[in-house]
């Protein structure tokens, strides 16, 4: 009978959501990058993504409540993200 205490078990695989993030104009300057990929816990929202981004010291200068678009539509912080989503941080617009 093998010793169940020491036998290696399968790795615990936590489902994750991977999204691509794009930064424009002033936010690109603040971030120092124009795009990145971010891995989030499954069930993460737009708000969770923004909080996770800002927890990275290189991105902490991003504002806490930016306008956000998910797959090219404006979205609120409660929107759930799924893998493959394109999330854009939208600075105050100044077209026209």
């Amino acid at each position: 009978m093998p010793d169940t205490e020491t036998r290696p078990g399968p790795d615990i695989v936590r489902p994750t959501t991977v999204v691509s993030v794009r930064f424009f104009a002033r936010y690109r300057d603040l971030a120092g990058i124009s795009a990145c990929e971010v891995e989030l816990a499954e069930g993460a929202t737009v708000g969770d993504l923004i909080a996770q981004l800002r927890a990275d010291h290189r991105l902490e200068s991003l504002p806490p409540n930016p306008f956000v678009a998910v797959n090219r539509d404006y979205a609120d912080f409660g929107q759930l993200l799924t893998s493959g989503d394109e999330v854009a941080l939208i600075p105050p617009v100044s077209g026209g």
Partner: protein, 142 residues
């Protein structure tokens, strides 16, 4: 939709051709046609502007501009609307944005035109980077 609306909504680095834009809207049912043109101004909040660049989130700007046009066509009694916004580097006096509205009567044409440009200012994902005579350059917010 009909075959005349080939421009309709356009985000482009090319110079805006207003005559071509007008050709894309309206029919003989439309007695009124308004054109709004926004140009690069030489001053902003008292500072002398020397140059300007528009950056767009192009894929989204294209669909948002289409949405604005469709919503405005539904909200007003207008025949057709077309709008174009520039990207890239622009010189003073160059056309940054143009909106053409054809309608049976002038009141709806003017009102719809105003509505389109105001919505562009609020939600079209485009950003203006201005350079000034004093050497500073910065992103603008509305």
């Amino acid at each position: 939709m009909d075959g005349t609306s080939q421009v309709r909504a356009l985000i482009t680095p090319e110079r805006i051709d207003v005559a071509a834009l007008i050709e894309t809207v309206g029919s003989t049912a439309d007695g009124a046609l308004t054109v709004f043109i926004g140009r690069v101004r030489d001053t902003n909040e008292g500072r002398r502007v020397t140059g300007l660049t528009y950056e767009a989130y192009e894929e989204m700007a294209q669909s948002v501009l289409e949405e604005i046009i469709e919503e405005t066509e539904r909200a007003y009694e207008v025949g057709h609307i077309a709008a174009v916004h520039r990207t890239g580097q622009l010189e003073l006096g160059e056309i940054a944005v143009a909106v053409a509205v054809a309608a049976p009567h002038r009141a709806a044409a003017y009102e719809a035109s105003r509505s389109v440009i105001e919505e562009i200012k609020v939600r079209l994902p485009i950003w203006k980077f201005e350079s000034y005579a004093d050497g500073v350059a910065e992103w603008q917010r509305q």
